[in-house]
């Protein structure tokens, strides 16, 4: 057993331990392989509900890989193999009987590059509720679209041009449109993979403010390369390195007094 496994065993719940109360997502001994490549190593962690958890770590450490485990996006990668257990509200999401489409409605995702469909602003948001049969009538659907745009903090800017193309919006607006699209299906968990990396500071602040409001009702996990962003928005922070979960803890503690040398070196800019 090397040192990293020892630390790891001390810092994260053991593979068999029960999740803490108020836990939304539980991972136990999660491993991911891309062919021969062991990209995620034995990760066990509890993600608390209705709060923001930040994943940080150097490029290639497995943040996106782990994030994609939580809504089974890795299923779409042919070479990818996932072992271990991931539960949402105690339900095994890798259970063969589970409907993956349903799962992705419960676990929404926002990507690094805003990726609106080449359709109207309205259609971008209406698409999800329509295919998941969430809205029963046209007026129901209108309501879902409007309230999602409102929650995403975009309504004021687009209410007079709902039929314009979503791709005609600015980058920051597009990103909030994607967030509106994600919340339109009333997910329980929202995964965000570097959602602000293409945005200016003002658009970034708007997304952060939005996340802060959303955390009252949603469980949010954000991958970010900005230490300051992780420190600003999250309540918990998890640090990954070389496929290992090195340390997870209260954001306040991680950024003022991390336990692990590797965490400290990374967040203070002393890496490699």
């Amino acid at each position: 057993m090397d040192m990293s496994t020892v630390e790891h065993a001390m810092l994260t719940p053991s593979a068999t331990s029960a999740p803490a109360s108020g836990t939304k997502v539980t991972a136990r001994a999660c491993n991911v392989y891309y062919g021969e490549k062991h990209a995620l190593k034995d990760v066990s962690v509890d993600i608390p509900e209705r709060s923001i958890t930040a994943f940080i770590g150097p490029s290639g450490c497995g943040k996106s890989t782990f994030l994609r485990c939580i809504n089974r996006m890795n299923d779409t990668i042919a070479s990818c193999r996932v072992t271990g257990k991931i539960e949402i509200d105690g339900q095994d999401i890798y259970d063969p009987a589970l409907d993956v489409v349903q799962l992705r409605a419960r676990v929404g995702m926002v990507f690094q590059k805003p990726n609106p469909f080449p359709k109207s602003i309205y259609e971008n948001v209406a698409y999800g509720p329509r295919i998941h049969g969430i809205a029963k009538s046209k007026s129901d659907l209108d309501e879902v679209v409007i309230s999602s745009l409102e929650k995403a903090g975009l309504l004021k800017e687009v209410k007079d041009r709902l039929n314009d193309s979503g791709t005609g919006l600015s980058g920051g607006q597009q990103q909030r449109l994607c967030i509106a699209r994600a919340i339109a299906v009333s997910p329980e968990v929202i995964l965000m993979d570097e959602p602000c990396s293409a945005l200016d500071p003002i658009a970034t602040a708007k997304v952060e403010e939005l996340m802060d409001e959303l955390k009252a009702n949603y469980t949010i996990i954000i991958v970010t390369h900005s230490m300051q962003q992780a420190a600003r928005v999250s309540q918990r922070t998890a640090f990954f390195h070389l496929g290992n979960l090195v340390e997870v803890g209260d954001t306040r503690q991680i950024f003022t007094n991390p336990k692990e040398q590797r965490t400290q070196d990374y967040i203070t800019g002393r890496f490699g």
Binding site: Q228, I254, T256, P258, T268, G269, R270
Partner: protein, 238 residues
């Protein structure tokens, strides 16, 4: 500790440490010299202390400016953050120690021509010695990031308090013996009080160092035994 990827960041942090070390050296020197001026009744020496204190003030401003720059430009995290907050607080405490030394020097000038009560002066001498020893230990603890030593300094402050209590009592007695003694005694009493305050700033430094190194506050309430705030002139003291 590993160096930062950005080298100028390390240079700035080193500069901060260097300025603190400089301030600490000056504060120690001035405190020692202020007492020398008092003991030797040398107003010229006292003036030197008063002038030299200005350098400490300037250094404190420089530390503050550097800290603000680092926060604004580098957004320090974790141990870096603790380190620059520590530097700022320690600079504050050292500036105050400098002021207290200056105050002792001023009093030395004021009482240069008076007859000195020998036992009180020698008691003050011991107090200065102890205060300097503590300050040096605290500064060493900072330079070496030594939490153990900081804790020791923190605990030993009680000894300075005890010395202050006994000097307080002695000076009261001296004043009662002869009203003519009241003037000089008051100056010496303030001098002793200044040294007791130096001890408190030293304790602050120790607390700061402890937090810097461990990331935790130093723990339960500090043992404090300055009891003079409850002391009265008793009949029996006469």
């Amino acid at each position: 500790m590993n160096p930062h990827t950005v080298k100028t960041y390390d240079e700035e942090l080193h500069l901060l440490d260097k300025k603190i070390a400089q301030m600490g050296g000056l504060a120690e020197h001035n405190l020692g010299q202020a007492f020398d001026a008092l003991q030797k009744r040398d107003p010229r020496l006292a003036d030197l202390v008063i002038v030299a204190d200005h350098t400490i003030d300037v250094l404190e401003k420089e530390v503050e400016e550097l800290v603000i720059q680092i926060i604004a430009r580098r957004q320090p995290m974790a141990n870096d953050l603790r380190q620059i907050m520590a530097a700022m607080r320690i600079a504050n405490d050292l500036e105050r120690v400098g002021d207290l030394a200056k105050n002792i020097a001023k009093r030395a000038g004021a009482i240069a021509d008076e007859p000195h009560p020998k036992p009180v002066i020698s008691g003050l001498g011991h107090m200065v010695e102890m205060a300097l020893k503590q300050l040096k230990l605290a500064l060493d603890a900072y330079a070496e990031r030594d939490a153990e030593r900081a804790l020791k300094v923190w605990q030993d402050d009680q000894q300075i308090d005890a010395m202050y209590n006994s000097l307080f009592r002695e000076l009261l007695t001296y004043m009662m013996e002869n009203p003519r003694n009241i003037g000089i005694s008051t100056h010496l009493l303030f001098g002793a009080k200044n040294l007791e305050r130096v001890g408190d700033h030293t304790t602050n430094i120790a607390e700061t160092v402890y937090y810097l190194v461990t990331g935790k506050p130093i723990g339960e309430e500090r043992p404090k035994s300055d009891t003079t705030s409850q002391m009265l002139v008793q009949q029996g003291d006469r």
